[in-house]
């Protein structure tokens, strides 16, 4: 099991006021993302646990791209990975940011 952790400075606070959301399932080729609004407004943290080892560079690039596109300030994202491809990871991260922006 590989444990990856990325800290970013986000330009702005993530939209919405929901405290947390969860998207995806830990299934083959899929992943779950638990997103929690627990950090200061310009910080973003992504914690990843994956059984597929040795792809740190790809994770790093996908996470950096996500932070740049979504500006998820204040969000802590925790990922359990079931061997998802990078495109699926990018979609789930975006979906998590959208889910926590929804009012409820």
């Amino acid at each position: 099991m590989e444990h990856l952790n990325y800290h970013h400075v986000a330009p702005s606070r993530a939209k919405g006021s929901k405290r947390q959301a969860i998207v995806g399932v830990v299934a083959s080729g899929d992943l779950e993302v638990l997103v929690e609004r627990t950090l200061p407004d310009t910080e973003c943290e992504v914690n990843i646990r994956t059984a597929v080892e040795g792809f740190g560079d790809v994770w790093k690039a996908v996470v950096a791209d996500f932070v740049e596109r979504r500006s998820p300030g204040g969000l802590k994202l925790s990922v359990n990975d079931g061997g998802a491809r990078p495109d699926m990871v990018a979609l789930r991260l975006s979906q998590a940011a959208r889910a926590v922006a929804d009012q409820s």
Binding site: M1, I22, V26, A27, L34, R49, T50, N80, D81
Partner: protein
Amino acid sequence: MSAAWSWYEATARQRLLKLLDEGTFEEFIGPEQRETSPHLSLFDLPEQFDDGMIVGHGRLEGTRVLMAAQEGRFMGGAFGEIHGAKLTGLLRASREIGSIPVLILFDTGGVRLQEANAGEIAISEIMRALVDARLAGVPVVGLIGGRAGCYGGGGLIAGCCSALAVSEQGRISVSGPEVIETNRGVEEFDSKDRALVWRTMGGKHRRLIGGAEILVDDTMASFREAATRLIKRAPPLDAMTLEAEQSRLDQRLERFGRCEDARDIWASLGAADARSLPAMAYRDFVVLADRLEKPRHDAR
């Protein structure tokens, strides 16, 4: 998400949210509490924050219900220690309250092999808690229509429920197709013969032989309607119900005990063209099934 959405394709969370009145679901021990399996990391396997079991409460057509839903895509929806304990706790709470019905959204292959002993114990604890809840007058209704079906210990728990609704895609059994083939040989059961699997364990057959009260269409709306109906007419668990169940099973064995195939059973029920049943559209089948074999609500 529309009411016509496929139950089979949906995740456990989507099923829960769509089944209940909008905005009423509240989860117990949510994913943020990270109550994950203590066993999976030993096998270098990824965990899921809810361990594949979501429990909580909400309202169904205004009626308060307790809910549990298994995520069939995480480890095949299999029971482990935490996964099982969440359902045990929910059922024990329902017994204490004594009046709020419980809905269990099954989607499971049985016990998780990586935590087999804990999983097997969980199954027996759940069965005990379920029976105790029913003895206290709580209706416990099972809904089955997921990818993993309802197998192994899940099939045993389903058998303890007050009533079951199943879709054609859902399957109910204890030993799964591969298990039967491995133990008894391909002549006994060819697990690669998908038509055989579905006509032996699938929802239509279960409805016809009384293994489930209602056959539902593979939509959120159809499951919602069935759940609403079944929590209202759940039989009490008492000596009369058990006797009715025993006589129902005796009659079933007497009527169908010599049948070699599900199609023989359908033919002996009076289906004119038994071979046409698997391909029959939902609405046509429901009409036919009600004519061939009315569901009994005095047993279980």
